[in-house]
Amino acid sequence: MIAHAALLVLAIILPAAGVVLALAAGGRGAERVAMAVIAGGAAIALAIAGTLWTTGAPLSYVIGGWAPPLGIALRADGLSAFLLLTSALVIGAIGLFARATYVQPAGTPERRAPLVFWIMLMGVWTGLNAVWLAGDLFSLYVALELLTFSAVPLVSLEGKPETLAAALRYMLFALIGSILYLLGCALLYGGYGTLDIVLLSRLARPEPVVFVALALMTAGLAAKTALFPLHLWLPPAHAGAPAAASALLSALVVKGSFILTVRLWFDALPGIAGGGAAQFMAALGSAAIIVGSVLALRQARLKLMIAYSTVAQIGYLFFLFPLAGAAGDWERLAWTGGIMQLVAHAVAKAAMFMAAGLIGEALGHDRIAGFAGLGRSLPVVMFAFGLAGMSLMGLPPSGGFVAKAMLLTASIGEGQWWWAVVIMIGGLLAAGYMFRVLTPALAGGAAPVILAARISSARQAIVLGLAICALLLGLMPLRPSALLEVGRTMQAAEVK
Amino acid sequence: MMLVGNIATVVLVSLGAVFFLAGTVGLLRFPDSMTRLHALTKADNLGLGLVVLGLLPQVDSVPGALKLVAVWVLTQLAGATVTQLVARAVWRGGGRS
């Protein structure tokens, strides 16, 4: 078992070593290192998920033999396994997709953008895997900072004035967020003398220090997750980044701080926040769905539309707080549904941003008004875009459908029907903004658009492949996932 | 011996404090940058020097004493340079503060 647990270390250290090596090697070396890390990282994620699947037990690894509270433990439960697999899949696809853009031709002086992109890609992955696996709230703070420091340069990678301003605004939001989170860490350490998640869950009692800490940390993480009304930084940042980076930011980076919120509410401080707080979170999520979707409907540019759609789709995740729990059939269904929404959105949104990138390259612009007849010129890309859109709308059979159906069923089953109403309105609005793009593009009569550039079929295939993955997630049965339940011990006891 | 050391400490450190006080008053009250710099450097040079000298009897090891003296020397070095820089900037700016 020790050998398997060591995989948790490697999942974090491999991309971290990639960052160091790529910087040392420079030039063409960076891409080679990144490709090796992508291959290795995927294997590690599969091995960890496989181990959890076969043994049905969570993994943990104590760093340096120093057991918590003095030391740090890494832990992988079913949720970590889902997230490791999702990030490996999405980062793999983005990496392959980006090879055409971030080329370092042989024998030429080192170029800026490729080196930065490949290093930041691995930086994001280090941060994500650390968020998925770290069992200590302060290590999670460092992990969050890894995400911020690698995400911000990706936003401003092209160096255009508006993206530089967007990156600065993102940075300031993220900094306030992480300091508030750190403030909560200080309070919790002062209260209980540990920041280990498992130990905290045993020690924490509903008392003022915990309430204040949880409120500060949740607020800080919400700013990083771009939860309404702290979403203002997201659309310009995600829309301004180059396509591969947008995909990474929208699909995965915002999920890091969200999962940390989940770890706080469900794992570290279970049962501390009352029902009212959970309803409040979901209410903000609902507002995000409505406001984000309406703004997405009004955008003239495709990438901004997709970015606003991210604001909306993040909103669904916050239904986890009132609906999911360790005990009860509906609660378990909502848990699977919420996490499936995260996974499905990650895969679909990455595909969608990459499709938008290809459309932008082919047309030389991404104004939706100029899309008439695009379906004939770029059939594969538009097909992939449509498939990914199905997931956002929640049409069957897609990952988004499964997720939203589970959340909807759970909310009715738990007698919180009002969230079901929001989920349905959100689906309709998503259909609205998707069809605004698809209808002109697929209109029969229009003549094919003249393309400014040719798009390689390999890149189209990557986007299509990812979109198909989003669809295949829809084949998942509509019941709580066994893998996701691994490690949720309290609930296992409840069931028996 | 102890007593002599303690008395020396009290006297020297108090004297140093007086110089610091005078320097601070000068910094606040003097009319222009040059005279203010003059006041500050007095606090640095003499004030800190006296404080360090006064603390020496209280140190029980030679390395400890050397560290104290090093503090004074380094402050002198940095203070003199910074004063030079500020004075030059003021000079270039036409003598205004």
Binding site: G159, M171, L175, R301 | -
Partner: protein
């Protein structure tokens, strides 16, 4: 009042002042300064907690102290990156505001 409590109150006020400055001050450089105040207040709270946890012959619990050292370094890196971004924004646009250009692209 023990010194630890005194510095604890100090950290509370620093956090409030930093938060207010970061939210209200329109100049990005001043926002960055205010964030550093906010950070300093947070670190000081760790220090107070460490002081209250003095044991085993140590003046304070070394674990939160070590966390502060890590935190100061991260805060410095953040300041350096944010400042570099700000300078580049100024270089490109001659502006030091975070306002987006008016959204002309809305239908």
């Amino acid at each position: 009042m023990t010194p630890a409590t005194l510095y604890g109150l100090c950290s509370a006020v620093l956090v409030g002042a930093g938060l207010y400055g970061a939210l209200v001050n329109p100049q990005p450089l001043r926002k960055i300064l205010a964030l550093n105040l906010l950070g300093s207040g947070t670190f000081l709270l760790f220090g107070v907690i460490a002081r209250r946890g003095a044991a085993a012959g140590l003046g304070g619990d070394p674990v939160p102290q070590a966390m502060v050292i890590t935190g100061i370094v991260v805060a410095f890196s953040a300041t350096a990156l944010a400042v570099a971004l700000l300078l580049r924004v100024y270089q490109e646009t001659g502006r030091t505001t975070l306002e987006q250009p008016a959204p002309k692209d809305v239908v």
